[in-house]
Amino acid sequence: MTNDLTVVEEILSIKNLKKYFVKGREFSRQKETIRAVDGISFSITRGQTFVLAGESGSGKTTIARLILRALEPDSGEIFFDGTKITNDVSSLKKIRTECQMIHQDPYASIDPRMTVLDIVKEPLDIHNIGKSNKRRDLVFEALRDVKLEPDEIVSKYPHMLSGGQRQRVAIARAIATKPKLIIADEPVSMLDVSVRVGILELMRELQNKYGISFFYITHDLSTARYVGQTIFILYLGKIVEMGPINDVLSRPRHPYTQALLDSISEPTPDNLQKEKKIRINDPIDINVYQGCRFRARCPYAIEKCKQEPSLEQIDGQRSVACFVEIN
């Protein structure tokens, strides 16, 4: 990789994106603001897989929905393939055809009343891609790309398919419009262990064949490492650490990243005798939006952490938002 940033082509670039939600009913007095996405900036290089990792409630899915403009951002800018995404029809059409999404649950994300043919064809019909008599061929091509036998499967309904096959159908639907970027939101977490690898391999293959960039959203750092090149760690709406995935996972610089790594149980017999240590405290009751958001659970917290740390570059490609040096 080159260090010269001007050469690197970016498929997606996000600048200072913000989205707050207000919790509490219209007439209730207690209102609480949730800063789901709070000033996030990043860019995704063409043809690579970027991982966004964090726990539930960290804002992962909100970011995905903001990119596809299923949600309106409070502020911030999104550039996709050089075009600024706003509410005008042409930019919306661009993002919604050239950027596709794979959802977590293949039991919920495909319509049980539609055949596989109709499911995969739907985006082509909606966006009017290809002549209507040629669309069937495009569907067949997409199904072959995801390693499903088109003749056997096109007339089936989702209930006749296994979890892995359903997720392949969902991926076929995502690649049917020949997208440049695919947002994959926990695409394997609902699948059986033995089926997961097949789906992850498929994503790699599609990337090599068509140069598709992937935005992989997950809480599972092990599968993240398998598919990704760069990782962002998200905590309560802020990026706390980012960098090349192998570096970040082998030498975490943020206490939260370290705790996430501590919590992983790899299948080795040594675990049985060892005590499981996770370097994290029970949360103390403080306003999480004052100072570092991880302060309430951080075992390394110091007085300075009452100020908010910004995401600083620490070496060539890595950045971390933390005042303490843990590694």
Partner: protein, 309 residues
């Protein structure tokens, strides 16, 4: 001591018989914990439910479940409920944290268990002890389920299983649906309880989680245990091709990242094929495998595969 011999559990589904647990046998020494691993629909939850005689909609056809030498399947329902259920064997059901009753406080739900089991001693003391053993403050007792986080609810459900001080606790996927950090905390709680002398039967699809708890491991495929042995032996020297491919399909955080994926799907348990049930997906299948494989003794357990005949 705890042992299961030739257990068969079946469901009736649209006139078809589903062979969910098919001639399962294993035995544990005192204080040993077991991990049951397998994919969805392999029968692992049914096996867990059979141990506490609560297979809904299914039937235990034959076999023995021996607890301290006594066959719990021979007991009448009254006897089992009076002496065994929750008192000697308790269970943390899959998704139990979402089945707490929203209109009762946590304390009321604990009291209900004590009432159902005719507990006559100091109830509050028992409840406080159980709640403390899972690391929850006693203030949660006056709260309602919606006031607790996922991790706290899961701990409360575990405390419920511990309430009558059972010898054996069956935990079915106790950490799924929890966040990674919370998952690890629940896991270290289970480790602590095990250290204090409780035996666990942990049912999970996650080989990593099993490796934290299980002294012995049973690998289940399509209703059968295909390999059984100590954690050390099964993980470091797996024998059955299914065990091998499971272990090789887990992405790792460190080291090389070559993975093997398993092709195909498990067989339909309403119509299982003759012979080895892994036949269609096995890379080492031979002509012989069309017949039911025999159990071959290994150092610490057994493997059901013709390769080791």
């Amino acid at each position: 001591m705890f042992a299961i011999n030739d257990l068969i559990v079946q469901y009736q589904l649209r006139g078809k018989i589903v062979h969910a647990v098919d001639r399962v046998s294993f035995s544990l020494e005192n204080n040993e914990s077991l991990g049951i691993v397998g994919e969805s629909a392999c029968g692992k939850s049914t096996l867990g439910l059979a141990i506490i005689r609560s297979v809904m909609g299914g039937k235990i056809i034959s076999g023995e479940i021996l607890l301290d030498g006594q066959d719990i399947l021979k007991m009448s329902d009254e006897e089992f409920t009076k002496n065994i259920r929750w008192k000697k064997i308790a269970m943390v059901f899959q998704g139990a944290m979402n089945s707490l009753d929203p209109v009762f406080s946590i304390k009321q739900q604990f009291e209900e268990i004590l009432r159902t089991h005719d507990y006559s001693g100091n109830r509050l003391e028992m409840i406080n002890e159980a709640i403390a053993s899972v690391g929850l403050p006693s203030s949660v007792l006056n709260k309602f389920p919606h006031e607790l986080s996922g991790g706290m609810k899961q701990r409360a459900v575990i405390a419920m299983a511990l309430l009558l001080k059972p010898e054996l606790v069956i935990a079915d996927e106790p950490t799924t649906a929890l966040d990674v950090l919370v998952q690890a905390q629940v896991l270290s709680l289970l480790k602590k309880l095990k250290k204090e002398g409780m035996s666990l039967v942990l049912i999970s699809h996650d080989l990593g989680i099993i490796s934290e708890i299980a002294d012995k491991v049973a690998i289940m495929y399509a209703g059968k245990i295909v390999e059984f042995g100590t954690l050390q032996e099964v993980y470091s020297n797996p024998k059955h091709p299914y065990t091998k491919s499971l272990l090789e399909s887990v992405p790792k955080i460190k080291g090389k990242s070559d993975l093997m994926s398993l092709k195909g799907n498990p067989p339909d348990l309403a119509n299982p094929p003759e012979g080895c049930r892994f036949y269609d997906r096995c890379s080492q299948a031979m002509e012989k495998c069309r017949k039911d494989p025999q159990k071959t003794k290994t150092k610490s357990g057994y493997v059901s595969c013709w390769l080791y005949e």
